[in-house]
């Protein structure tokens, strides 16, 4: 086997090894790139920023541990922004695993960075309910009918934050962090469109292209994957430099992802060079 032929059939263990190094080394050397917010992400930030203090923001955690590296920084950054702006935050989940992920955000961001915020006044954890889009349809008109208690089992009417809430149209903004179905698409179709409620949020990089048909009329902004999360963090730090230390999880993780992308591109180029050289040689041999 010639060198070129070997380049066309590299052992996948070599590829796996180099991808592992491409992730580990940038993490060890803390390789960080400067990230700039794109218009599709900036529009989410601008919307949260423009809402008057005390606005009602519903945030739905529709993902599980598998996509935490992409989704959790989005959830943390948007929650942080809502807390900075003193919005009232209503946390729920359409995914069974979402409630646990929401608890992480509550612990790390709300309780960790904003200890003055009061549960039941500034934010509430409604938790998970089964039903997928059926749930969204039901809470559209009667949220308290489905959520008779908060996640800890306390009567929903005992919290001041729930006063004046009947259904989804009472919210000023719906944020969804999703990684599949039910997720962003269902929130747009069963809540945003129906009640003319602004919907925005973030999804995994794989899912983001599927949601572009909704942007910008039905979906006011979208974070796609880790890059989207990093862009939101960057937008937050530009406006609020005090959060430079805490709001950089995704920005830091973009280093390993960038190098991993480079390694993939390198292998694709090598494979194509080898392919063209071999094809040219075969053509020459046939013509001779």
């Amino acid at each position: 086997m010639t060198f070129i032929e070997r380049m066309q059939a590299i052992d996948r263990r070599i590829i796996f090894g180099l991808i592992a190094l491409a992730v580990i080394i940038p993490m060890l050397v803390h390789l960080v790139f400067v990230v700039r917010p794109s218009p599709i992400v900036q529009s989410i930030f601008d919307k949260i920023e423009a809402l008057p203090e005390g606005s009602r923001v519903l945030i739905s955690f529709d993902y599980g541990p598998a996509t935490v590296p992409e989704n959790q920084p989005m959830a943390d950054a948007m929650t942080r922004h809502c807390m900075i702006k003193n919005h009232r935050l209503y946390i729920m989940a359409v995914w069974a695993t979402g409630e646990a992920q929401a608890n992480i955000t509550i612990e790390d961001v709300i309780e960790g960075e904003f200890p003055g915020k009061v549960y039941g006044e500034n934010y509430i954890q409604l938790g998970y309910k089964a039903g997928n889009q059926g749930l969204l349809n039901a809470i559209f008109t009667d949220l308290k009918g489905m959520y008779t208690t908060d996640a800890s089992g306390a009567d929903i009417n005992s919290f001041p934050i729930m006063e004046g809430i009947a259904g989804l149209p009472d919210f000023d903004l719906i944020l969804c962090i999703g990684s599949g179905k039910p997720g962003m698409k269902e929130w747009i179709q069963f809540a945003g469109d129906r009640g003319d409620i602004p919907v925005a949020g973030g999804v995994t990089a794989v899912e983001a292209p599927l949601l572009y048909p909704y942007y910008p009329r039905q979906l006011l902004g979208l974070m796609g994957g880790l890059q989207g999360a990093a862009e939101f963090e960057a937008a937050l730090v530009i406006k609020y430099p005090d959060y430079r230390e805490t709001s950089t999880t995704a920005v830091k993780n973009m280093g390993p992802q960038t190098v991993a992308h480079l390694v993939i591109i390198f292998f694709v180029i090598v494979g194509n060079i080898a392919f063209f050289v071999i094809r040219g040689r075969e053509k020459r041999e046939r013509s001779e």
Partner: protein, 226 residues
């Protein structure tokens, strides 16, 4: 009657939900909300069905001595232990209203110590397989494959800060060649067109299937005749 009653229920609920969308006047919005609540209640029973199905498949594997039966033992043990811990709310407030995943509960420990790392590991493996698959599949063998390859290249670079660094120096008249701009253009124009076409196709299919279900033409969901 075993077939007529489900067909009747499907017809009434399907028609009411469609009418509620176009006539937002009482009683239709009320019916819409009421039916959605019923749907949510029924959806909860899907968990029991799912759990039963999981047990059936894996118990069957173990009893038949399947070569992967040890994985089935792990699956059943994991399922039953997690179920019991969650139902009994070990370490937390017992009773129906107690939070099964509150801090200090055993369920929370299982979630944090097993489910989170296992889920993250499974998803992380994708990076390795995507790299290997890209290397083998992305070959510019045809014109169409070359276009796909170029689009993938631009998206891969454009979705990282590298895209900015590579082309930020371009003068104003050539700004359209800026890689992040090109990446956004691919997502917002050709991708959008393709996605819309797919969505319209799927929606038409859903409408046709729904009408067949409501009108009782499609009866496959009722199961076999006896």
């Amino acid at each position: 009657m075993r077939r007529e009653i489900p067909l009747f229920i499907t017809f009434i609920i399907g028609t009411a939900l469609i009418v509620a969308l176009f006539i937002p006047r009482d009683p239709f919005p009320r019916l819409d909300a009421e039916f959605s609540v019923w749907f949510d209640i029924i959806a909860v029973f899907a968990f029991i069905l799912g759990g039963g199905n999981l047990l059936k498949i894996h118990v069957d594997r173990i009893t038949r001595g399947h070569k992967d039966r040890f994985y089935s033992v792990v699956t059943i043990a994991g399922f039953l232990i997690t179920l019991m811990v969650g139902l009994m709310k070990f370490g937390g407030d017992p009773g129906f209203k107690g939070n099964y995943i509150a801090e200090g509960t055993w369920f929370k420990v299982i979630y944090d110590s097993f489910f989170v790392p296992l889920g993250a590991t499974m998803f992380s493996l994708l990076a390795f397989f995507v790299a290997s698959a890209s290397y083998r599949a992305f070959r510019a063998k045809t014109r169409e494959a070359t276009v796909l390859l170029l689009a993938a290249f631009i998206i891969l670079v454009g979705r990282t800060p590298l895209g900015y660094y590579l082309t930020f120096w371009l003068p104003e008249p050539l700004q359209f060649l800026h890689i992040p701009t090109l990446s956004n253009w691919i997502l917002a124009v050709p991708n959008l067109a393709g996605q819309r076409a797919i969505m319209i196709g799927i929606s038409l299919g859903i409408i046709a299937t729904s009408l067949k279900l409501i009108l009782g033409i499609e009866r496959g969901y009722l199961g076999g005749e006896k």
